[in-house]
């Protein structure tokens, strides 16, 4: 019995418009980030911690289609990013107390 041929799901393709909107949002967020960094070091760091992951999430979710994918791919990405966060946290158990 052969592997069933999987067709791309017709309903899951977004149109052009979505991408333009997301692109515009990304440009705005980048501008905000730059302005924040002009304000001061603390504001810059907050920008780094909040806005940057948000930008990355928009690219993952829309440009990389994660929004339209099933649970498996979302879980796979989440597991990997979660592992990364735990690496950072455990590393800082050492670094923070030097």
């Amino acid at each position: 019995m052969s592997e069933p041929l999987m067709e791309p799901e017709a309903h899951a393709h977004p149109g052009y418009a979505v991408f333009f909107i997301v692109w515009a949002v990304l440009l705005v967020l980048t501008t905000v980030l730059v302005l924040l960094s002009r304000v001061g070091q603390d504001a810059a760091v907050w920008g780094l911690m909040l806005i940057t992951p948000l930008k990355a999430a928009l690219v993952f979710y829309f440009f990389m289609h994660l929004r339209y994918e099933g649970l498996l791919l979302k879980a796979v990405v989440t597991v990997a990013l979660g592992t990364l966060l735990i690496f950072f946290a455990l590393l800082f158990s050492d670094v923070a107390f030097h």
């Binding site: 019995m1 592997e3 498996l72 597991v79 990997a80 592992t83 735990i86 690496f87 455990l90 590393l91 158990s93 050492d94 670094v95 923070a96 107390f97 030097h98």
Partner: protein
């Protein structure tokens, strides 16, 4: 349809004949055999180096090599064994050969990528070998390449490290291949909870290969950049931090030991039900404990660094996590034992070696728990105790698991049976020699013998002598073991499809299997390891 209807994978080489038909094949079975021969070759070389290392600790032979050469020997022994035998080990050999068969598929998800994995493996090996004879000569840093010494030494660390870097791709691609295969290519009706446990083990291992290996890759790149261009991330003279290197190195290299052991545990889990003639006890516990070991095992890396100058808080945290990771391994041992209890034991060589795995791995695991205690670690770190510990788990564990898997699946892979008596005869020197060799090391370490030392104090003479004699006995056993298999490969009695009476899918096809694995892909309706005593299985 008879088994002789389709040509076996051994005879049908496809469009190319002879050697070319092997080294360009995308058939997972052929690739598994390629890995088998290459990894065992590297194992033999590494074992030979080990013999020399042990010999040098005997007074009459001490000056066989210089101290510098001794450093190169233990470095290369580690690199060979770890990167070229144990980490590749079971997944590319038995995983490649058996995974599609066990899940009822015709091949892995990406057959060509599978072949490229082997090419990366061989390329990495050749580069590592080249590092022995080029540049400043063989690296003398130990397989861990600790900075700052690895940055300063004139030996060819750059090339050795580059070889390990290339090998990483082999591991990553295998992980990607197996995970996709398991998700996408199980036979109809084979739900996750009906899948045999060796694939479960390969699945957990694949995740470690994917997530951890890249971190080693970048760490090795940084070492190369520091040596070549002078980027100062690790070198204290340039503001770098050796502790950072250790963190990055062990974030991979600790999970790497679970890449080594989880598949061996998976193989043992396949073997026991067949020879107890009953289903595995605690299927879900074993399946999920593989995943748990992979997960928790990725969080304990700094237990290699307790004496390196980390904060006390980090020390305590990692010590606690190290204790936790022992739990899922112990769960497996209990389940294996319970599988045997009240089973109808059919004593055969694969069972003997699988039981030996459980015994030796338990010793190794327990010594690991000992080392995880901070106070103990201060005394045993960098002593022979550690060396004894990791040989018990890597050799007594993964090595023995590899041998057990080889004995179990040999008839399937080659269509021939070996001499069971020879396998039993080999066991005695292997077991006795192994324990003489490595238990002595545990004792030596507790007495204070440091590792990676060319010289030793006279008080350690006896321990070293016992260990060295043990190494000879062990190697004698290994020679008998492999001679048996080599002879059987060419002259053994023909084996039928199911010489052991196993109930997993690989035994439902011919020995050796046809190229397409199965005439018809079966539909699965039962859980794995379901025996039917009333109908003779």
């Amino acid at each position: 349809m008879s088994a002789g209807h389709a040509a076996s994978y051994l005879d049908d080489s496809g469009p190319r004949k002879g050697i070319l038909g092997w080294v360009t094949s995308t058939d997972h079975k052929r690739i598994g055999i390629l890995y088998l021969y290459s990894t065992l070759t590297f194992f033999a070389v590494g074992a030979g180096i080990g013999i020399v290392m042990r010999l040098v600790q005997l007074a009459p032979f001490h000056h066989l090599v210089t101290a510098q050469t001794y450093n190169a020997l233990f470095t290369f022994h580690g690199v060979l064994m770890i990167f070229l035998f144990v980490i590749p080990g079971l997944p590319p050999v038995f995983g490649n050969f058996m995974l599609p068969l066990l899940i009822g598929a015709r091949d892995v998800a990406f057959p060509r990528l599978n072949l490229y994995s082997w090419y990366f493996f061989i390329a990495g090996a050749l580069i590592a070998l080249l590092s022995l004879v080029t540049g400043g000569g063989p690296a003398d840093t130990g397989w861990t390449f600790y900075v700052p010494f690895s940055l300063r030494t004139g030996t060819n660390v750059t090339m050795a490290v580059f070889g390990a870097f290339i090998l990483g791709f082999s591991s990553m691609l295998t992980g990607i291949n197996f995970i996709t295969t398991i998700h996408r290519m199980r036979a109809p009706g084979m739900t996750w909870l009906r899948m045999p446990l060796f694939p479960w083990a390969l699945y957990a291992t694949g995740w470690i290969q994917i997530l951890a290996t890249p971190i080693l890759a970048i760490t090795l790149v940084l070492v190369m950049l520091e040596r070549i261009v002078g980027i100062g991330i690790f070198d204290p003279a340039k503001g770098g931090d050796p502790l950072l290197y250790q963190h990055l190195f062990w974030i991979y290299s600790h999970p790497a030991v679970y890449i080594m052991i989880i598949p061996a545990m998976g193989a043992v889990t396949e073997i026991l039900p067949t020879f107890a003639r009953r289903t595995i006890f605690g299927y879900k516990a074993i399946a999920f404990s593989s995943v748990a070991i992979a997960a928790v095992g990725s969080l304990v890396w700094a237990h290699h660094m307790f004496t390196s100058g980390m904060s006390p808080f980090a020390n305590m945290l990692f010590s606690l996590l190290t204790m936790v990771v022992a739990v899922p391994s112990a769960i497996k041992v209990f389940n294996w034992t319970a599988t045997l209890y009240k089973g109808s034991i059919d004593f055969q060589p694969p069972l003997l070696y699988a039981l030996t795995f459980i015994f030796l791995f338990s010793i190794g695991g327990l010594t690991g728990v000992m080392q995880g205690a901070l106070a103990v670690n201060v005394h045993v770190h960098d002593t022979y105790f550690i060396v004894g510990h990791f040989h018990y788990v890597m050799f007594g564990g993964t090595g023995m698991g590899f041998f057990a898997a080889l004995l179990y699946w040999f008839p399937k892979m080659f269509g021939r049976m070996y001499s069971k008596r020879a396998a039993y005869v080999a066991w005695f020197p292997i077991f006795i020699g192994f324990n003489m060799l490595y238990f002595s090391m545990l004792v030596l370490g507790l007495q204070g013998m440091p590792r990676r030392y060319y010289n030793h104090l006279p008080m350690f003479d006896t321990g070293h002598e016992v260990a060295t004699v043990g190494s000879w006995i062990l190697v004698l056993g290994l020679i008998i073991f492999f001679a048996n298999l080599v002879v059987a490969r060419f002259r053994g009695a023909k084996a039928g499809p199911n010489p052991w009476g196993g109930v997993t899918l690989e035994w439902a096809t011919a020995s050796p299997p046809p190229v397409e694995n199965f005439e018809v892909i079966p539909t699965i309706t039962e859980e794995a390891y379901t025996f039917h005593p009333e109908s003779g299985t």
